[in-house]
Amino acid sequence: MSLFEFVVDVVVGPWQFEVMRRALLVTVVASLVCAVLSCWLVLIGWSLMGDAVSHAVLPGVVLAYMAGLPFAIGAFVFGCVAVWLIGTVHSTSRVKEDTSIGVVFTTLFALGLVLISATPSQVDFNHILFGNVLGVSDTDLWQVVIIGAVTGSALLVKNRDLTLYAFDPDHAHAIGISPRRLQVLLLVLLALTVVVALQAVGVILAVAMVIIPGATAYLLTNRMERMLVIAPLLAVACSVAGLYVSYYADVSPGGAVVLAQGSLFFVLYLVAPRRGLVRRLRVAAGRQ
C-alpha cells in the first residue's frame, strides 16, 4: 500500500459508516449555528447565560422523553423558562444577575437529575448529559437540521441588528429599533441552539459550543463581520478534527470535539498574530 492510499484510507475511513456520517452532519450543523451565536454572547458578556440555558433544559428533555414528545420541544420550553425565571428573579428582588443565574440553572438541573432517577428508564439518560452523537435517530437528525436551518437564517437576517443591540442598545432604542425585542430574540435563539448542541455533545458540554468559537474568533480579528465567518469556520474544523480523533482513538466524540475547540482557543491565546500572549510579551519586552 502506497503512502497516498494510506492517507486516503485514514481520511475516508470514518465516513464509510452511516453512524459516523450522521454524527458528522449533526456535529457540523450544531457547531455552525452555535459558533455564529457565540460571537454575540461573548461580546455582550452572556457566557454564563449560555451555561445556564444549556443546563436548565435537562428537566425539559426528561419530561419530553417521558411524554413521548420530541426532546427539542421540552428542551426549548425549559430553556425559555430558565431565561424568564432568571430575568424575573433578578429584576424583582435585590439579588444580582449572576446570582440569579446560578440559583435558577442549578435548581432546574437538579430537578432534571431527580426526574431521571425517578423515571423507570428505557432510555439511557447519560446520553442527554454527555451527548449521543453516534446514536442519532432519524427524528433527532431532522430536528437538528430543521432547528439549525431556522436558527441559522434568523441569525443571518438579524445579524446587523444583533450587533447593534450588543454594542449600543440605547442607540437602538433611540432610532426606534426595540432592544427588548432583540434581547428576547437572542435568548430564544440561544435556547434553540442549545437544543441542537446537546444532541451533539450533551447538556454539560453544550455551553462550550456557544462560548468557545466566539472567544477564539475574537482573539483573531477586530471586525465583527469577519468574526462571524471565522468562528463557524474554526468550529466546523474542530468538529471534524474531533470526530477523527474520536474514531481513531475510540474516545467520546462530544468530548473530543469540545477538547479540539478548547485546545485551539488556547493555542491562539498564546500565539495569535496580534493579540496572542507571546506577541504581547515580546512587544512589552521590546519596550523596555
Binding site: L43, R160, D161, L164, H173, A174, I175, G176, N222, M224
Partner: protein
Amino acid sequence: MTGTTIGNASDPATGDVADHGPVVDIAGVTVRYDDVLALHDVSLTVGSSRVCGLIGMNGSGKSTLFKTMMGLIRPQAGTVRLFGSDPAHGRRRGEVAYVPQAENVDWSFPLRVRDVVMMGRYGTMSMLRRSRGVDRAAVDDALEQVDLTGLASRQIGELSGGQRKRVFVARAIAQDARLLLLDEPFSGVDARSVETICQLLRSRAAAGCAVLIATHDFDVLPEIADEAVLLHKRVLLHSTPQTVLRPENLALAFMPAETERSDGA
C-alpha cells in the same frame, strides 16, 4: 419651582425646521429608582436652533433626564413630548440622536469607525440593514465633517479620547437627527476635538436642530450654548450660560447637602 422657558427661537433665516413649537417639552417629570429620587417635578422646554447646556453634579439626574427623553425610563409622573408629539414617533422617524458617555461604550468591540457611524443610518434601512449608496454617502460626509475620514477603518478602541467622541457625533450627523443629546461630550477630549465638536453642534443648531449637552466643562459652555439649565434632581435655574455659571448659582447645584434638605422629598 420649575424651569422657565427662554428664547424659543424659530429663526426665520434658517427655515430648515417647519414647525414652530418647542422640540423638547418636558412637564412635571418625576423619576424614582426604587426609593431613590432621581428627578423631581422637572419641567423644561428647548426650542429648535438652540444649544442648551445641562449642568449638575454626578447623580444630579442629567443622564436620567436624557434617558427619560429617549423613552428608556418611564417617569412616575409628568410628560415628555418631542416635536409636539409622543417621543416614540420621533424615535421611529430617527429624529433623536444620543451620544453616550465614553465610560458606557465597550471600546474593545470589534467594530470599525465606519461601522459605528453607519449604525446612525439603521433606522431608515430595510430589515437586513444593508447600506445603500445614500447611506454610504451620508457616512462619508459625516466622517469628513468630524475629520475622521483617514481613520474610518480603524477599530474604535485604537482612537484617542477626542477621536472617540467624534465617532459618535458623526453617527448623530449621519442619522440626520433633529434633536441631539450629548452626555459629557467634552470630558477627556483634546482642545482640537472640542473645537471641531463645538463647530459642528453650532452648525447643526443653525440648521434647525435642538442640541442638549450634559457637561462639567464650564469653560466651553458659554462659547457653545445659548442657554443653560442648572439641575439637581430638579431644575434650579434655566437661563443664559453666563447667569447659570455665576458662582452663587453654581453653589446651589454643587452643595448638595443644602438642596437635599430643602428638597423635602
